[in-house]
Amino acid sequence: MKRLLYNFKITFKNKELIFWAFGFPIIMATLFYGAFSSLINYDGMEPVKIAFVENEENQLYPVYNLVIHSLSVEDGATKTSDSKIFATTYINNRESAETSLRKDEIDGMIYFDNATDFPKLMVMTNSLNSTIIQNVMTEIEQSITAGHTFEPANLKSAGDQKMDYIMVEFYTLLAMACLYGGMIATKALDKNLANMTSSGRRIAVSAVSKAKIILGTLLTSYIIQLIGLAILFVYLTMVLHLDFGPHFPMVVFFTMVGALTGLALGTFVSAVFKVNENTKDGILTGITMLGCFFGGMMGPSMKYLVDSTIPIVNKINPSAIISDGFYALNAFDPDSNRFWLDVVSLFIITSILSTVSIIVLRRQKYDSI
């Protein structure tokens, strides 16, 4: 117990570490909030302009015609209302739609390539509007695949869609905070490894088993990580007034799972890479930031791009999985397959990282120190 308290003190007195693990996510959250405040506080929005190409190829899924129609505002309307979010032009010629898209007259076009596939979406730029179209298309496709009848009334309003877009940024921020917490484990473990620090050598020759030392260190690191995340949540919900949906206990549960993955990543970096402390920090930061980038931190469109072109990347990318889990909790419900798949994926990644770390850390003697 006394050792744990000392471990807390050692970590909390490391100002640089506390800044990166605690302060940096809060600063990022504040910057994100500043960047999106105009969107968050905006009352209405122009409908998203799309072209729907009607040709003989779209006979298999006539539901798309109906759904898009029900989601479209009356001709000439300039504001969205409830689920009426599109200003749709029906065209029977794909080339004409493409021309409109290139001229920036529309935000996206929906067309059928052949009679057996779902329709395709073409957008020219990655923007909020293109993301909204993408979301709607995904939801319709998922309804058809699951054998449900798609209810346009269940579709989120444009405002909610907009908030989803913004929240994805904060979800990736939470993912970043979870993984950045691994830095605490990396630094704490380094202090206990004989091949890394002189204090580690002293601990290695002491009368306490290595397993006990490492478990104690990781427990302390995890608790500190959770304290940091709790502070971040308080800031996001109490200060920035962000809404994490109706399933807050599950959000907390999922955050703890994400933090566990961060802990495993930090342990892995400490155990596996035989480099100095700064380089380890660089590796962990690099993995986290690159993962967050692919996971949609700089805009959800990057996540969609990665998902559609190299899907395996985000299947093994903890940042993307964590942000997707938060999204699934908010957009669907805790019983959804998507959420639990994310939970299981994180546990698998955590297990793999932990197993490799244990194999390396089990070593008791070194070739050189």
């Binding site: 006394k2 000392y6 003190k9 007195k13 620090t197 002293r202 020759v205």
Partner: protein, 317 residues
């Protein structure tokens, strides 16, 4: 429990450690008797720290056997480790904890009882003279005080066996004296000490037995006196005087003189035996009516022994 050499608390047999092509320790064998201070003396890179790290089971080694307290040493031999204290060459403390907390933390790795641990912490701080610096952070301490803290962290739990790896490197004379006094106190309290250094004066003052290492091999071992007996020059007399060529020749012909060096002001005379040399020299000078300034006699140092055995100075590297 296996058999041990009588009275030996540590036994090292045929220890060999290689780093790729470099043999850092070459078939090293020695033992340490209970209650003695054994000095491992050698220049930097001679294998002193590597030997200690192998004994402590921190380093893998290619060949050999190490027993402590009659048992084979291993990384998980916690019962043996409980009896060992180590003061590493590098200062091994936490910058985030105060002096008192550091000693208490490391003592707590051996002593479970909170009150005993507190008491031992206080005693260790007193031993190294850091009672007035309890609340200081390590970065506020001078180099010498930091070294003392390093020692306190290693010995606070009152171990039976203490490894001190160059504990006085880069410390001021006051701290060095304090550290050496502390080590003597530990020996007087019954600890067995293995002390590595490249300062020959320290081993001369402290150690009951000395092993001189070079390139991972033992080149000589014994007590301070027995090692000095290995030197061909048993006495060296230095005299400041103006000496004619005739007198210089007479001095060179004195009994047991093996070498004479004169720079016009100071003469250094080396003898192969150390019996009545000074008296004979003074007698010669007075009978020749030669006035002289300083005159003093020196016994050979361990550095002389090392020089004769290896052809280089202890502090060459």
């Amino acid at each position: 429990m296996s058999k041990t050499t009588a009275g030996s608390i540590i036994e090292v047999k045929n220890l060999t450690k290689k780093y790729k092509e470099l043999t850092a320790i070459d078939n090293l064998s020695f033992d340490v008797k209970k209650g003695e201070i054994l000095g491992l003396l050698g220049p930097n890179g001679s294998g002193k720290s590597t030997t200690i790290n192998c004994i402590l089971s921190l380093l893998k080694f290619d060949q050999g056997e190490i027993k402590i307290l009659g048992k084979t040493m291993a990384p998980d031999a916690l019962d043996i480790k409980r009896e060992i204290g180590v003061v590493f060459q590098d200062v091994a403390v936490f910058d985030e904890l105060t002096v008192w907390e550091n000693v208490n933390y490391f003592c707590g790795l051996y002593i479970n009882d909170k009150e005993t641990c507190k008491q031992y912490t206080e005693e260790a701080l007193k031993l190294v003279g850091l009672e007035d610096f309890k609340k200081f952070l390590p970065k506020k301490l001078s180099g010498g005080l930091l070294r003392r803290l390093n020692i306190a962290c290693g010995i606070a739990h009152k171990p039976k066996i203490i490894f001190l790896d160059e504990p006085t490197v880069a410390v001021d004379p006051q701290s060095r004296n304090n550290i050496l006094d502390g080590i003597k106190k530990l020996r007087d309290d019954g600890a067995t000490i293995i002390y590595t250094t490249h300062y020959m004066e320290e081993v001369e003052i402290l150690c009951d037995r000395i092993i001189i290492l070079d390139r991972g091999k033992i080149i000589a071992a014994g007590t301070n006196d027995s090692l000095k007996d290995l030197a061909k020059v048993k006495e060296r007399i230095t005299i400041e005087a103006e000496l004619s060529t005739k007198i210089q020749a007479k001095i060179a012909e004195l009994r047991d003189v093996v070498n004479v060096k004169y720079d016009g002001k100071t003469m250094v005379i080396s003898y192969k035996d150390a019996r009545k040399n000074l008296a004979e020299l003074v007698s010669l000078l007075e009978s020749s009516r030669i006035s002289y300034g300083k005159i003093f006699s020196e016994r050979p140092t361990l550095n002389d022994v090392f020089l004769e055995l290896t052809g280089k100075e202890l502090r060459d590297q």
